[in-house]
């Protein structure tokens, strides 16, 4: 829904929460049910599962953390793997911060806002924020992202107790929600040929690089190559137009 420039802040926050509850929050919430089960499998308390959703706020990092513990990886290796998998937040956060920045905003508020950057708030934010009056974007974004976080915390909590009791096909289905939803959110945000190239090449190169590079560097290498090619194609077309 659109936000009017003269709305009070609670109304803007509610509009953000409502947009999240229309669909995105539920998908993230269902997607993070699997985290609860992974935490349960390694014998960690339910509080750690729910806190991982609130504090890490990145499905793949959480999957890596609990799955690596289950696999018996060294702590240093776990931290490095999570760090590499989360490197995407550097370009993602850099891309969305200029939309949320306001004159006179404190660094603390920016750090707080950056915490909510994850696939949903990012793809939806890049799509929706430009159409919202600049002075209302922060409140809208917080309403949207917090609604996602509350639903997801409930999802993680229930997954901790539920998923073990679920038949295999449905348990597998819940774990597959994360990649399916990531891809659907990415395709929802496609605008130009360059975006399509970035997604297609990113998909194709990651398994190839995993095969030939490894050591945790594979994802960032494939992302840099695919992203740079897409960027050059976008520039070319802009120059030609």
């Amino acid at each position: 829904m659109s936000v009017s420039a003269d709305w009070s802040w609670p109304r803007v926050a509610l509009a953000g929460a409502r947009d999240a509850l229309m669909l995105p929050a539920w998908i993230v919430g269902f997607g993070l049910i699997g985290i609860g089960s992974l935490a349960h499998d390694v014998g960690y308390p339910v509080g750690v599962a729910v806190l991982s959703t609130i504090l890490v706020w990145a499905g793949p990092s959480q999957v890596l953390f609990f799955a690596s513990i289950a696999a018996g990886a060294a702590w240093s290796a776990i931290a490095i793997a999570v760090g590499f998998a989360s490197l995407r937040f550097l370009p993602m956060t850099m891309a969305i911060m200029p939309l949320l920045r306001r004159p006179g905003q404190s660094v603390w508020q920016q750090l707080l806002l950056s915490h909510y950057v994850a696939v949903t708030a990012w793809t939806e934010g890049l799509r929706r924020l430009p159409g919202i009056p600049p002075h209302q974007r922060v409140v809208y974004f917080l309403g949207f992202a917090n609604a996602c976080m509350v639903v997801s915390s409930i999802g993680t909590f229930s997954g901790y107790y539920l998923l073990g009791a679920l038949p295999t096909p449905f348990a597998a289905g819940l774990l597959c929600l994360t990649p399916i939803f990531f891809l659907v959110s990415l395709t929802a945000g496609l605008r130009h040929l360059a975006d399509v190239v970035a997604v297609a090449l990113g998909l194709a190169l990651a398994p190839l690089c995993e095969r030939f590079i490894g050591g945790g560097f594979d994802l960032i290498v494939s992302g840099l190559i695919a992203g740079s090619i897409a960027f050059l194609i976008g520039r070319r077309r802009k120059a030609a137009a």
Partner: protein, 120 residues
């Protein structure tokens, strides 16, 4: 199973491990980005490049989760996992991006595929 670090072990170990080995390595990139984004203009070419790399990285995560799946998702054969992603993408392309329908289609293919082709 990775054992706790002996020196720091105790009832709060799982929380400490979460902070040290999951929260910090994730959050540091977001904080770093806040610093780096200062003064960047919304339509600068640098930001366009950064956005493309971020998009490709996210797509890469999708491919990795499909090729090397976590937990019980490994029960689904590779072709079922790929078919699920393909079906979701096809719905997005053919129905003017109806997200809910795309997610449900992908899920239906995966759950149905596990019923049909997996031994569990």
């Amino acid at each position: 199973m990775t054992q706790p670090i002996a020196l720091l072990d105790g009832p709060f170990w799982p929380y400490l491990a979460l902070i040290l080995f999951a929260v910090l390595p994730t959050e540091i990139w977001r904080w770093l980005a806040v610093g780096l984004a200062r003064g960047l203009d919304t339509d600068s070419p640098l930001l366009e490049w950064v956005r493309m790399v971020a998009t490709a990285l996210l797509a890469g995560i999708v491919a990795k989760l499909i090729v090397s799946p976590p937990g019980v998702l490994a029960a689904a054969p590779l072709f079922v996992r790929v078919a699920a992603i393909g079906a979701a993408a096809a719905v997005m392309a053919l129905t003017r991006r109806r997200m809910m329908l795309a997610v449900l289609t992908g899920e239906a293919v995966l759950v149905g595929g596990v019923f049909l082709f997996a031994k569990f």
